[in-house]
């Protein structure tokens, strides 16, 4: 049963107003960021703020188009759009223009388009389409493998550009998966993996191994809830470690590297655990032992990956974030200048167009990836608070609306929108305030650039269109 209702009456005006407010704030801040005495007019088309006005105009057109398309079309064409997007991602690798070392742009005359941004919309649609299908059951491993492939394919294509920042954004979909029944324990494990990766990059293999063993022992205790077994495990590890080390070094004259002997001890205890697992039929403990070894292998390969796959500047940025390297004129310069700009803003900020750090180009990429610096410097803590507050309100509003959807497609899509935006905000702001490494991704609605603005507009307004007719579709 379907009812056709006037979309303008049903559409969520609250979100639209939030959207317009943020886009306008973004425009004003771009004006402040690239302001120059020779081009005072905000409508000057030679400057980024003039162009951004054009992009905003186009975005509003896109929004109107999105709102006027039949709801069913999005679901119907989801895979088609996804396929188009994949093709565009492949084409850009061949035909694209290289900017800042990434082949990520189509250049058509004056206009530059970044297919990566639109791939997020397409992937969001495809994920929603797949997970809302009857075949996709949350308790089946196959469901999550296929869903994983849906996000992995564009992610890999983007990684080839290479644009690691956008790849990371695709990880946002795991939160959507989680809402749809993806086991939380795996997500937790994934989070642990990220945590271990960071440890692996910072600490020595020996320390990493100890961290893994501590986590494993905690998990073991949580599963078994028996102190004697925990003690046996700890004592067993300790004895086999010191015993093997003593024999190897003293009698066999092997080199004395603690890491190998702790690894050996872990292996010994693993075998003993497996024997007990078979004897006592305790399945969960098998997983703990298995995952412990996976974690060991994983952390070991992290270093390999870091050394062989990441670009030097990315390695450097990560190293700086992890405090392993200091280079005030290189990668750290960006973060340092960004922090100085934001930190010097104070409570009320320096005032519109008064930010010396952003106005005089101390902050790199100030109109795109580092637009939040302008907010922080010129509007102070008040401005930062308002901007982050608007984002939280928007995100929670989208989640709330998603939960109201009767159609699984709409709900999943809504979650996709919210989690992608969240990931963008978290990474972008996190990097400007020095909490995350500098991986260049835009701040939704604020950063200068047509592609990103249009993609986020599409992302949001497709959801608003779906939401406007949430009463029409009764599954």
């Amino acid at each position: 049963m379907q009812r056709n209702v006037n979309v303008w009456a049903r559409v969520d005006w609250f979100t639209i107003i939030l959207y317009l407010v943020m886009v306008l704030m973004g425009w004003v801040n771009i004006y402040a960021a690239v302001y120059s005495e020779e081009h005072r007019s905000i409508f000057d088309w030679n400057m980024r703020y003039g162009k951004q006005m054009l992009w905003i105009g186009a975005a509003i057109v896109l929004a109107l188009i999105s709102l006027s398309i039949d709801t069913r079309a999005f679901s119907f064409f989801a895979y088609f759009i996804y396929a188009l997007s994949l093709i565009s991602l492949m084409l850009v690798l061949v035909l694209g223009k290289e900017v800042n070392g990434a082949r990520a742009w189509f250049e058509i005359g004056q206009l530059r388009l970044q297919p990566t941004e639109f791939a997020k919309v397409a992937t969001c649609l495809a994920v929603a389409k797949y997970l809302s299908s009857y075949n996709a059951r949350s308790d089946k491993l196959k469901t999550w493998i296929i869903a994983g492939i849906i996000i992995a394919v564009p992610a890999v294509l983007i990684a080839l550009q290479p644009d690691i920042g956008s790849v990371v954004v695709f990880a946002a979909f795991t939160l959507t998966f989680y809402r749809e029944g993806f086991p939380g324990i795996i997500l937790l494990f994934g989070f642990l993996l990220v945590f271990l990766s960071l440890i692996a990059l910072v600490a020595s293999p020996f320390t990493v191994l100890i961290v893994i063993l501590v986590i494993a022992l905690i998990a073991f205790f949580i599963v078994r809830q028996r102190i004697p077994e925990l003690l046996v495990a700890i004592v067993g590890l300790t004895i086999s470690y010191f015993f093997s080390r003593m024999i190897a070094v003293r009698l066999l004259h092997f080199p004395d590297n603690p890491y190998y002997y702790l690894l050996f001890a872990t292996g010994v205890m693993g075998v003993i655990a497996l024997v007990n697992i078979v004897r006592k039929k305790i399945r969960y403990v098998f997983w703990i032992v298995f995952l412990t070894f996976v974690a060991i292998g994983f952390t070991y390969s992290i270093d390999y990956f870091f050394d062989n796959f990441l670009q030097p500047h990315q390695q450097q940025r990560i190293n700086i974030l992890l405090g392993k390297e200091s280079d005030p004129k290189g990668a750290e310069y960006n973060v340092a200048q960004s922090k100085i700009a934001i930190g010097s803003g104070g409570f009320f900020g320096k005032g519109f167009l008064q930010g010396t750090q952003t106005k005089f180009n101390f902050v790199p990429e100030q109109s795109t990836d580092f637009i939040f610096c302008t907010v922080g410097e010129e509007w102070g803590f008040v401005g930062s608070f308002i901007v982050l507050g608007l984002f939280v309100i928007l995100l929670l509003r989208i989640l709330h609306l998603s939960e109201l959807q009767r159609s699984a497609f709409s709900r999943i899509y809504g979650y996709g929108v919210a989690t992608i935006m969240f990931m963008h905000v978290a990474i972008n702001v996190g990097m400007t305030i020095g909490l995350l490494p500098v991986i260049g991704i835009p701040l939704p609605f604020f950063s200068y650039g047509g592609s990103s603005l249009w993609a986020f507009t599409l992302l949001l307004f497709i959801f608003l269109r779906l939401d406007a007719s949430r009463l029409e579709v009764l599954r």
Binding site: Y178, E180, F362, L388, L399
Partner: protein, 608 residues
């Protein structure tokens, strides 16, 4: 798969809120609690440009300008703004080599890519004009105006001193200075650095990340203009100084002239000298090394630093000590048999009437007379023993400003030497007597006295017993605000009444009647009183010395002339002093043949 997992809505919402909360806490810390970012921001975006003041002008005592300033331009380079440029033209305009360009740019880059570094110091006016027209062709270069000293006359190099760039020790000692500042290194420039340097100003510009100027901070509200240094009126008479320098040109030595009534230094000459203009601008470094390595040592200020035996001029002091201690009276008469002989010791003398009283002893500079005087002083029965007698002698002598620094305002003054009692006790193991140290009677031996001290000696006698500390500055910014110590009479330990006898001897030495050692120095009507000296020199010919003052009553000038290897005092020192006195007092020269004599007279100085 739908609402079975609806509670996860709260977990996901919670994650969103949590992350934003963490960020807000971080922002609160960065923007409100931690203030270090604000300082960083100011350092980032404000450029302090130092405005260098011009140093104060220096005038001579008659108001003649002797040191002024000239504009100079430091060429600065900002590596960030450099673009490829026509090196050949660039080098030919500035007169530098491409190698210099390469090296200096590399150095500037190493210092900072964004901040300017000096590229070429003190481009002369003429080059600057040519370069200015072409400046647009060399982006990244700009010109910073500075002022350099300009010397109106090529005189008084040692008196005026020179200005150089500060080094790290100056910066450590006085926080006023920064790298690249100038400071007085010697002479008046050093002594009156605080008055002459002025106050640096500052202009605060807002700059962008490329260090490009975007305007001034708050419309220049916080800018401070540079304040020019105070103008200083020196005590010297530029014409007298120049005249003295002309007369001494062929000789090595020092001349100091003092106004006895004030202690003002009228001329302070050391030769060999140099053109002060040599030690400014870009040539300074090269010229300084050249002057430093010159075997004739033109940087050595003989007037303040060469310590030599005063020769017979010292007899005046022994006469005064003899009178003061009662060892002799003006009527004490001694004979002279072409010298003075005690046992193995013989001090020679020249031919003159004998016997002589004190006035005659001074007039004819009789060695035997003063050997007797000195022995009477040391062997004075009123003294406990020879040691206390010597100590008394030394105390009286030192009250003349000898054997210690006079504490003039000019830097690098040396104190000379009057041997101490301990010194003689040590080298002679206490077994010495008046004969052992008899050479002190005629100003030989271990005594060391600088030309400044000699001149001061003349001034004391001219004043009949006191002096003002010789100094180099009369007025600061037109006001008589020099140090109080130059205003205080320094009394010697001698009764004023004793001097007239000595002055009479000095008058007769120059003017007769009869003979005299400095008769060639007499100028009719000027009443010059003087005493020659001939200091024995183990390394070569004797040094020619003359101290004098004039007129006899109410003297206007006291002078000491010290000419190394000049022979008898009368040979060179007397003509120079006489001409300078005449020049100063009458501003005319009546004896051009003397000038000619000095101009053609040469002394072969040993190459050291």
């Amino acid at each position: 798969m739908n609402n079975q997992f609806a509670n996860r809505y709260y977990i996901i919402s919670g994650i969103f809120v949590l992350v934003v909360l963490i960020y807000l806490i971080r922002l609160f810390y960065m923007q409100i609690i931690d203030t270090s970012y604000k300082f960083s921001a100011e350092n980032n975006s404000q450029r302090y440009v130092t405005l260098y003041p011009a140093r104060g002008l220096i005038y001579d005592r008659k108001g003649q300008l002797i040191v002024s300033n000239q504009a100079a331009y430091d060429l600065m380079v900002n590596p960030q703004e450099l673009r490829p440029f026509d090196t050949a033209t660039f080098c030919s305009i500035l007169g530098i080599t491409p190698e210099y360009v390469r090296q200096t740019i590399r150095k500037a880059r190493n210092y900072s890519r964004y901040k300017s570094s000096p590229f070429l110091y003190q481009i002369p006016d003429s080059v600057y004009a040519a370069f200015q027209e072409q400046l647009y062709r060399f982006p990244g270069f700009y010109v910073q105006p500075r002022t350099l000293r300009h010397y109106e006359r090529k005189i008084a190099a040692h008196f005026l001193g020179y200005v150089g760039e500060v080094d790290s020790s100056h910066i450590k000692n006085d926080s006023y200075y920064q790298m690249g500042d100038y400071i007085g290194m010697s002479g008046m420039e050093k002594a009156y650095e605080k008055e002459l340097r002025g106050v640096k100003g500052v202009k605060i510009y807002l700059v962008d990340v490329h260090n490009r100027i975007k305007g001034s901070l708050a419309n220049g509200r916080f800018d401070r203009p540079a304040v020019q240094g105070k103008n200083v009126t020196a005590t010297i008479d530029a014409d007298l100084q120049a005249y003295g320098e002309k007369l001494i040109k062929n000789f090595r030595g020092g001349i100091v002239a003092i106004e006895p009534a004030t202690g003002e230094i009228l001329a302070l000459i050391s030769n060999p000298s140099y053109d002060p203009q040599m030690l400014i601008g870009r040539a300074r470094a090269i010229n300084f090394v050249r002057l430093r390595d010159d075997p004739s040592n033109p940087l050595f200020n003989r007037a303040l630093q060469s310590k030599n035996p005063p020769g017979s001029t010292f007899k005046l002091l022994n006469a005064l000590v003899g009178l003061q201690t009662g060892a002799i009276t003006p009527q004490s008469t001694f004979g002279c048999a072409r010298g003075y002989t005690v046992g193995p010791v013989h001090v020679g003398c020249h031919v003159h009437p004998t016997p002589l009283d004190l006035i005659g002893g001074i007039q004819y500079s009789c060695n035997a007379y003063f050997c007797n005087v000195f022995r009477r002083i040391i062997d004075n029965p009123k003294e406990k023993n020879r040691f206390s007698a010597y100590q008394h002698w030394r105390d009286l002598v030192m009250s003349f400003g000898l054997g210690k620094k006079i504490q003039t305002d000019l830097p690098h003054e040396l104190g000379g030497n009057i041997p101490s009692l301990e010194y003689y006790n040590r080298i002679y193991r206490n077994s010495w007597n008046s004969v052992t140290i008899i050479s002190l009677s005629i100003g030989q031996g271990e005594i060391g006295i600088t030309p400044l001290q000699l001149a001061n000696m003349a001034a004391i006698i001219a004043n009949r017993g006191y002096y003002y500390i010789p100094h180099s500055v009369r007025l600061i910014n037109g006001y008589d605000s020099i140090d109080m110590r130059f205003k205080q009479k320094q009394y010697t330990a001698f009764d004023s009444s004793l001097f007239d006898i000595v002055v009479e001897g000095m008058y007769r030495a120059v003017n007769g009647p009869g003979g005299g050692t400095a008769l060639n120095g007499a100028v009719k009507g000027l009443d010059i009183c003087g005493k020659t000296g001939t200091a024995q020199n183990p390394h070569g010919d004797d040094h020619s010395i003359f101290i004098a003052f004039a007129p006899r009553n109410n003297p206007k000038i006291a002078i000491a002339v010290y000419i190394e290897n000049g022979g008898f005092g009368a040979t060179i020192a007397v003509p120079i002093a006489s001409l300078m006195i005449e020049k100063y007092l009458t501003d005319t020269i009546t004896r051009p043949w003397y000038e000619e004599y000095l101009r053609t007279k040469t002394i072969i100085y040993p190459k050291k």
